[in-house]
């Protein structure tokens, strides 16, 4: 088996790459540990990328060398040794699967365990009879869930994308970014880095140099994407950084809703995740981007867990375009994440709906930036922070209006809920306005789960944990309702699970 792996791998690596001394590591599908220009070349080569892409990566790498790790966030962690990480890991048996049948059954099992069916026939079979409600929403309305196309990314490699043919019929491109580089290089070249440039910030620079895979979406003019798109990221290999890159383009008058889900196994060492997501919405287009992040948060003492340092930015490039971020952040030891919208187009709209839960020793510093450049642009921010255990939960948000952004409007609401008395919640709003016509509103509240509420729920039969989960789900309801129906019930459960052990 190992021999076959070796042969397969040798085939995928061009002979001249041997001079970089990778021989000893060939048997595993890792790049050698550490980071240098050769590693960048190795990754690019492994993916069979065109020269311009390699040059782009190298440019990013060189810029990154001169950049500094940001320190302004309210998070603390030991210094990361970037030379002590692997920058590329691929599941051995499947360097380049052609179809579902070639995928290691163990991988399929892993996803099945996570509740993510990858085989289209399974997805179809798993669906309820036509018209039969799948679950109740919180008000008792019956919900009939639709279908979801999934792109699954395992460590550094995209494993499979489902429902491709059906999407293609509508003209929607949904594939891994590696595949997009092969099949649609002109689109990637046009848009990659146009929202988050290579030298944007430390982690974005690192990502630009070594990103391994991620999802690519293009929706042509006037097309409403016929189903939910979703990517599941799974970080599996040890000591491996995961650097995905996602690029979504909604052309004029189109609409797409996309959801990413993330998980990682329990590990004693911390793992680094530094993703970049770029969204581009042209005139009258709308992108809804949802995240349900459940990376391993570390143990109760703060050992292990994922460092989630992510740059997500959307560009409302055209008039009346709309970008909406919804995030449910329950995992990671440290979260450093500010999904932002550049409101360039006239009358464009940006939204940010966030649920950030921290428990144990987790540290969350998250929020958004709404940058108003266009006339009559508007934005709305609803942030729900829940802190339990000995965690720290900070909302950090910037709303700014450029001189030309006349009549820009923003409404911000930040609510924090504390569970127990050893956690902390902080709200750090920054507001800048260069036009007197801008209207910015900010509201903030902090509350606790009361003993009365707990007793009331328990007297009705709920356990302590069920009571906390229910009360918290109520607290975050406004945001939860922004998620695609298909993911609501699952997310409610996840919220309960992530708060286990927070009381008593």
């Amino acid at each position: 088996m190992a021999d076959q792996d070796t042969i397969d791998l040798v085939k995928t690596i061009e002979v001249d790459k041997y001079k970089y001394g990778f021989e000893t590591d060939i048997e595993s599908d890792y790049a050698p540990k550490g980071l240098n220009e050769d590693i960048v070349r190795f990754i690019s080569n492994k993916k069979g990328e065109p020269q311009w892409m390699l040059d782009w990566r190298l440019e990013a790498y060189r810029a990154w060398l001169h950049m500094e790790e940001p320190t302004w966030a309210k998070v603390h962690y030991p210094k990361i040794d970037f030379q002590d990480l692997y920058y590329y890991a691929a599941p051995k048996s499947m360097a380049a699967p052609k179809s579902l049948d070639e995928i290691d059954p163990k991988l399929l099992e892993t996803y099945a365990k996570l509740g993510i069916p990858l085989k289209e026939q399974e997805i179809l079979a798993g669906i309820r009879k036509q018209g039969e409600p799948s679950h109740l929403d919180d008000e008792g309305n019956e919900i009939i869930a639709g279908r979801v196309a999934i792109d699954a990314v395992f460590d550094s490699v995209s494993v499979v994308t489902t429902f491709k043919a059906e999407l293609a019929k509508a003209g929607v491109i949904f594939c891994s970014i590696s595949e997009a580089l092969r099949e649609h290089p002109e689109l990637v070249k046009q848009y990659l880095g146009s929202v988050v440039p290579q030298n944007d910030n430390y982690y974005a620079g690192l990502n630009s140099a070594v990103f391994s895979d991620g999802s690519f979406v293009y929706v042509p003019p006037g097309v409403r994407c016929p189903m939910e798109l979703s990517t599941y990221f799974r970080m599996n290999a040890k000591n491996t950084g995961q650097f995905e890159r996602t690029l979504i383009i909604a052309d004029k008058g189109s609409y797409v809703s996309y959801l990413e889900g993330c998980t990682a196994p329990t590990r004693e060492e911390s793992q680094l995740h530094a993703a970049v997501v770029e969204l581009i919405a042209h005139e009258d287009a709308e992108i809804k981007y949802s995240t349900v992040q459940n990376w391993y948060p570390g143990d109760a003492e703060g050992k292990g867990g994922v460092y989630n340092f992510v740059t997500k930015r959307g560009d409302c490039r055209g008039a009346r375009s709309k970008i909406s971020w919804t995030q449910v952040e329950t995992g990671s030891a440290i979260t450093w994440k500010y999904p932002s919208v550049i409101l360039r187009g006239e009358s464009s709209r940006g939204e940010f709906y966030s649920i950030a839960i921290s428990n144990g020793r987790q540290q969350v510093d998250s929020g958004t930036k709404m940058i108003h450049l266009g006339k009559n642009s508007s934005s709305r921010i609803i942030s729900k922070g829940i802190a339990a255990g000995r965690s720290d939960n900070t909302y950090r948000g910037l709303v700014s209006a450029h001189r030309k952004a006349t009549n820009a409007r923003n409404f911000t609401q930040c609510d924090s809920l504390l569970i127990g008395d050893q956690c902390g919640a902080h709200t750090v709003p920054y507001i800048e306005s260069k036009t007197s016509t801008a209207q910015f509103e900010h509201e903030a509240t902090t509350s606790k789960i009361s003993d009365d509420q707990m007793f009331y729920c328990m007297s009705r039969g709920l356990s302590q944990e069920e009571a906390v989960a229910l009360i918290v789900n109520g607290f975050v309801r406004d945001v939860l309702q922004q998620l695609p129906m298909e993911f609501m019930a699952e997310t409610q459960k996840l919220i309960g699970i992530s708060l286990e052990g927070s009381v008593g």
């Binding site: 409600p133 679950h135 109740l136 919180d138 008000e139 008792g140 309305n141 019956e142 009361s450 003993d451 009365d452 509420q453 007793f455 009331y456 729920c457 328990m458 007297s459 009705r460 039969g461 709920l462 356990s463 302590q464 069920e466 229910l470 009360i471 789900n473 109520g474 607290f475 975050v476 309801r477 406004d478």
Partner: protein
């Protein structure tokens, strides 16, 4: 069904004793009314029975269907059939009443090793019970007790009781805040739940409620003890004479 024997209760963080040797025995099928002056310990009794934190039992015992009730958590008691209709129902923002009922019923069924109700069955069941209490679909979608009027809150408590079908119902001043029509609706709802295998303890200040929910026994609770027990006519006496007779005794 319920045997309270010489119950002494104090607050956990205060030395003051609130219940001072209370004894009461309730059999299946019976309805007991408890009346008594403000501050005599009626709500405290209901909380101790339903398992609220913050109280310390210093003496005495409570047996429920032959088991030690005081040793159980509040949720275990609920699953075993204890229900308290609160004097002041609690708000849970963002949690629709329908959702709350579903979570509560399923939690209890799970604890008893029963299967969850299917969604259509659950919906039918709740809608039918709600209609009897004049509770609209609209109200079921609203968050638990949030923005409910005083009377709506009390009706919602009885709906919860009707859905959870407990075997021991403790109603703490369910009549307060109800207008006359609502009182009839609620009393009808409660009466519909009377059955040979269900017992009720009805705490009230007013004879009026007992005209609709006719009790088998009436007890006077004063200064932490039951000082007099009788039939339904005792309520009429109290209505006429007040509690002066009992309060002086203390």
């Amino acid at each position: 069904m319920l045997t309270i024997n010489n119950l002494h209760v104090k607050l956990e963080d205060e030395p003051r004793e609130i219940l001072k040797g209370l004894s009461l025995s309730v059999k299946a099928g019976e309805v007991h009314a408890i009346m008594g002056p403000n501050g005599s310990g009626k709500s405290t009794l209901s909380y101790v029975l339903s398992g609220r934190d913050g109280y310390e039992v210093t003496e005495g015992s409570v047996a429920f269907k032959g088991e030690d009730l005081l040793a159980m958590d509040a949720n275990t008691r609920a699953a075993k059939g204890v229900f308290l209709a609160f004097q002041y129902p609690i708000e849970i923002p963002g949690v629709a009443t329908m959702q709350f009922l579903k979570v509560a019923l399923n939690a209890q069924r799970k604890a008893r090793g029963e299967k969850e109700l299917s969604i259509p069955d659950f919906m039918r069941f709740v809608k039918e019970r709600a209609a009897k209490l004049n509770i609209s679909q609209e109200m079921l979608k609203r968050p638990v007790n949030v923005g409910f009027s005083g009377g709506e809150k009390k009706r919602a408590e009885i709906l919860q009781m009707a859905v959870l079908e407990p075997s021991l119902c403790v109603l703490d001043e369910t009549d307060s805040g109800l207008d006359i029509d609502a009182l009839k609706v609620v009393a009808d709802g409660v009466n519909a739940l009377r059955s040979p295998d269900r017992a009720m303890i009805v705490i009230t200040h007013y004879q009026r409620l007992l005209d609709y929910i006719v009790p088998d026994f009436v007890h006077v609770l004063s200064a932490g003890k039951i000082v007099k027990s009788g039939g339904k006519e005792l309520a009429h006496e109290l209505e006429a004479n007040g509690y002066a007779e009992f309060v002086e005794k203390v």
